[in-house]
Subunit: 114 residues, 2 copies
């Protein structure tokens, strides 16, 4: 209960970078839209119109940061958003802004009553 943020700064920075380009952020959005089924590479390519090799590199980067997972289905490869990693990233940002520091009011982000 001390490594909540301090030691993981580098990891979260890498995750931010992984989502820090338009193509990759669009990929993440697309995979989130298709969650939990995910999408096959060809479907992503058809939607986002980029060369196969470029797309493959972006997917590789997202996979390295564990923001997406991949599973083979015959000749297809199906990519899915890793919601667990995203939840951690979102929690980190939320904590930095709203709880560890009181810079932002939680109610301005979300109104949950569970």
């Amino acid at each position: 209960m001390k490594r909540l943020a301090e030691d993981d700064v580098v990891r979260y920075a890498d995750m931010f970078t992984a989502m820090g380009t338009e193509p990759r952020l669009r990929i993440m959005r697309l995979l989130l839209s298709a969650h939990p089924d995910g999408l096959v590479v060809g479907e992503i390519q058809a939607e986002l119109r980029m060369s196969a090799s470029t797309l493959s590199h972006h997917l590789d980067k997202l996979k390295n940061e564990e923001l997406v997972g991949v599973a083979r289905e015959g000749t297809y490869l199906r990519y899915t958003a890793n919601t667990d990693a995203l939840r951690q990233l979102l929690s980190f940002l939320y904590a930095e802004c709203c709880t560890r520091n009181r810079a932002i009011r939680p109610e301005s982000i979300v109104r949950v009553c569970k």
Copy 2:
């Protein structure tokens, strides 16, 4: 009520990139800790131990993405976290994960009851 995310993808990607290095993420964390007062450049430098010119470049990048603001105080320059931009970024990520898509349960991020 349509440009909530679609058109701003590039901007949010740039914001993610701005926070996507360890030095800059540490700067943001530091400024959030010091919010709303912020910190003078020398104080940031003393805390994070980097050369003045390198720090200045990082601050410039954060300023370009409007993640921080700056105001002169005599010979000092005081930087502050731009909570409005951070709130937008957090809201974007929250929306993508929790509302626009239901990939992540809001309760797993935050328990707010206002």
